[in-house]
Symmetry: C2
Subunit: 391 residues, 2 copies
């Protein structure tokens, strides 16, 4: 194949404009060219996240952004609620525990979402909890929480709300300020059509004020120091300049499309993918009503974990279709399709057709043409017609 269909939930394929943008020469990160660059990025993220808050840019992966939120808001021994529905929610709670917070875990089973009533119940039981950490979209399971409902509960009880929107922001509806999110974390390699390397953390005044009193040790990820530098249109440490270029170009492309159009595209593509995979008898991990617009987790169609690995390797080597496996306890039990960032209907059909070819190659299905037919029908808003193709 000429190029892989890279469909893991990040890194995502990059538009050629973004790829090329990284080839610009380096600039001084203490000079005026950089000041204009960071101003443009911050303005872009404020637009895309619908926030007037400070947007801090850390040289790190998304996990670095999660650590930043935890170490700035928490104090050792402090009781804190982490709502988790998979590997990344668990990771955030583990970060809290590593920094000696008294972690209360509200865990949803794999494929299920957090029930806002459970959040309310725990906050009622533990009035000393000051901060709630919650995943917007769990990359490991393809589950999206009802963030507005959770935010309403958390803010209704006057708590601080930290949201991991690494794999949702820029793809799925999100109104940071309207929901009252105090700290929102996302990462450059997801919906932003840029390479990995930058964590984006939107922080409001209440979070800064709380951080000033929080006593977890921190330095690299310290909000206050970073804000001091960003107020001067710099970053505290040397920023990943070429990834900044890519983010600038990715944001420019998003502005051209329009934010709500970007959201609608992700919603449509996710529907095509879901219709396609269910039409060939594959089962989704995520419960109805909480299915992500950026990543779809599919129960393994194979007999064994080993065969699932072979299946993914076959798709990669024969067709250049790169899909993700499961993480942690879901390893060997699911595979995942990332459909975020640079993706359109053409890609959705290609993914589905290649996936189906692989299933037939492996003797896991006997016919072809069902998946794309279902997706095409879904794209027309019509019920699924009898497919014309035969296997």
């Amino acid at each position: 194949m000429f190029e892989q269909q890279l469909r893991v939930p990040g890194p995502t394929p990059l538009p050629s404009r973004v790829l090329r943008s990284q080839s610009r020469p380096m600039i001084d990160h203490r000079g005026p060219e950089f000041a204009a660059l960071i101003d443009d990025l911050v303005a872009g993220f404020r637009w895309a996240l619908r926030t007037d808050n400070d947007v801090l840019l850390f040289p790190s992966s998304g996990t670095g952004g999660l650590e930043a939120a935890a170490v700035n808001l928490l104090s050792p021994g402090e009781r804190t609620l982490f709502c988790t529905m998979g590997a990344f929610g668990d990771r955030w709670a583990n970060i809290g525990a590593a920094y000696r917070a008294d972690v209360v875990r509200l865990s949803a089973s794999p494929g299920e979402a957090i029930d806002p009533e459970d959040v309310d119940r725990i906050l009622a039981e533990h009035s000393d909890i000051a901060t709630v950490f919650v995943t917007h979209n769990e990359t490991s399971t393809g589950v999206v929480n009802d963030l507005p409902a959770i935010a309403a509960v958390v803010k209704g009880r006057g708590k601080l709300l930290c949201v991991d929107s690494v794999s949702a922001a820029g793809c799925m509806p999100l109104d940071t300020d309207q929901l009252g999110i105090d700290v929102l974390v996302t990462g450059s390699q997801k919906g932003w059509m840029a390479p990995p390397g930058v964590a984006i953390v939107a922080v409001n005044r209440a979070a800064f004020e709380h951080a000033a009193k929080a006593s977890c040790p921190r330095f690299y990820f310290d909000f206050a120091r970073e804000k001091k530098y960003q107020d001067r249109h710099q970053t505290f440490t040397t920023p990943p300049v070429s990834v900044f270029y890519a983010l600038q170009e990715g944001l420019a492309i998003m502005r051209e499309e329009g934010l709500e159009a970007v959201w609608a595209r992700h919603s449509r593509i996710a529907k095509l993918i879901r219709e396609g995979v269910t039409a060939i008898g594959l089962r989704l991990l995520a419960v109805e009503g909480h299915r992500s617009d950026t990543v779809t987790a599919i129960l393994s169609p194979t007999e064994s974990a080993e065969q699932l690995k072979e299946f993914r390797a076959h798709l990669r080597t024969t067709y250049g279709l790169v899909l993700a496996g499961g993480q942690g306890e879901l390893d060997g039990k699911i595979f995942r399709i990332g459909h975020l960032g640079m993706i359109d209907d053409a890609d959705a059909y290609a993914i589905l057709a290649l996936l189906e070819q692989g299933l037939v190659d492996m003797g896991l299905r006997s016919r072809v043409g069902l998946a794309t037919a279902a997706a095409q029908a879904a794209a027309r808003g019509a019920p699924v017609a009898e497919p014309a193709a035969v296997g």
Copy 2:
């Protein structure tokens, strides 16, 4: 000008091969293509750092690498020696303090190096110190320590040695294993001819064993977890793929030149720069015998901090020569020339000529042609001849 002469001590100008390398499509960081990439990087860094140790690659700036060393080796309340001779040494000590170590600071005045005898004296006084942190090359002052002498003292007393070689490794002589360095930190944007975004941390077995007992809280920068993933040819969190491409290309270019040739080039260029700037009556901050091969700090030739700022702005806007100012207490008192990574004699002459033009423009000097003449003479290994050019 067509392109800036970016001569701050990082980010550094990138060879076109490196710039272009970043335009390759993204790959799955859990797949075989990435495994080959990280293996190549690790092999390259082992070659360049002269080490058989694990080389951990963190998505962060160099400061992240400094934090990684501190949080993995230290425990709260533990007495620890930080040897500092400027802003970056201070930063490392501040990280230690932020994580509640009992920090003993051995400070050299700006422009001076650490005296190995002072290190020995402190270690004799405080036998409970287990780990010593020392800067190889202080980017803020252009001072290089006598690292072999310091290492001999530290290892002679059986202590762990952590070295910040962010702005020296890959440019100046360094034999990590022969010196017994337990943790060595460097950063992608310095001598490696790559953009910022990756901290490179070489960690030996003794450091891993010590880290297993050290109790500073850590997660993102945890050595043990990162090693577990890197043993599987992955990184723990999503790596900055395009910066990895750039590092691979930069290392390939270094291999073509040869490591000792790279060191010799940096040594020669540094000499040209020093000869040039001193020939026009500028004074170096660093003491004789400890002058860096990668960055030269020069005492301000202006009356005021404000005028120094104007001078640097004039060089940038008129000639495209971008130099760095001073940091912390040296702000307004010095300026700095970075001469590391992609730099050759042509660049040295260009930097010196443009610098001299700026001085004459500002009325700070009355003649031109002295700086390059002195550098050219130095390049010939000859005493400086009377310059032919007139002002």
